[in-house]
Amino acid sequence: MSAPLFDALLRLGDDRLVLGHRTSEWCGHAPILEEDIALANIALDHIGQANLLLQYAGAVEGGGRDQDALAYFRDAIEYRNALICELPRGDFAVTIARHFFHGLYSVLQWEALSNSQDATIAGIAAKALKESRYHVRHAGEWVIRLGDGTDESHARAQAAVHLLWPYTGELFLQPVDESALVAAGLTADVSTLEGAWRATVDDVLHRATLTAPDGVWMQRGGRAGRHTEHLGHLLAEMQIVARSHPGAQW
């Protein structure tokens, strides 16, 4: 069961690592000082979650790889994050809409995983749940303000929803090789989370005077290592120092 558990932990950890790194790109560029700090906090929360998840993934794998080896010495094809996490940061509306969509997914995931029979997963989930609840509160309030704001902010928020929507379906695709883990109560079946996710999304979009597109083709591939061109660029930037100076201490 260790190989499926390793893969499941990579899916969890890689989502947070890639989204955390993407979010860190806002550092020094956010629209106002307060938001700059908020986004940096959120980025660090994600990277902190990834740190715990990849550390545990390395331990489960039992091959001597720690979280740094997994973060800095895997290529894009070995990453298991959902595509929505790696898309370019876009404008502020895209960043906010993505944090709302993925944050809400995370809350539901952590709620389920905090009951995991695996004590380490349950512990990480309980800690991450508090963080993700705040991320959703932050992003959700912004979705409503941008959508129900000025003509400009409404147009940008609606464009962000349209851009990201085709990437939301992949979040709820349950990998076949995880079924034994789900049956044993170790991990959660993400396909069961979609109903609750959609209900909250519809409620917030409605309050934001925004609409979700209907019947669009859903992208997939990230969970199988088939990524967009954007992940390679992100990893190149994230990994360059560790790869140029392997084992360096600072």
């Binding site: 106002i32 000082l33 307060e34 700090i37 908020a38 906090n41 932050h138 309030e141």
Partner: protein, 99 residues
Amino acid sequence: MTPNSPERSWPLWEVFTQGRDGEPHQHAGSVHATDAEHALQNARDVYARRNEAVNLWVVPSAAITASTPEDMGPFFDPANDKAYRHPQFYKVPKGVKVF
């Protein structure tokens, strides 16, 4: 109008943090925000992200009435020669070690 000109910036809010249950809220600083919930979130991110607080107040800065430098004399000076307003003439009972 530049993006940072006063006409375009969001209202200012004063932030008060309570370090522990039972302690008084103390002024921590200020944030810009569009409304109360937004101010609360910004205050959390700027002033309470390192475990500094268990509770937050945000107050519109415009709602605060402050004394002015001109008030200095009439407000505060008269206290100096009215020693009877200070409680140092009371004998502290034996056993009270707080003072």
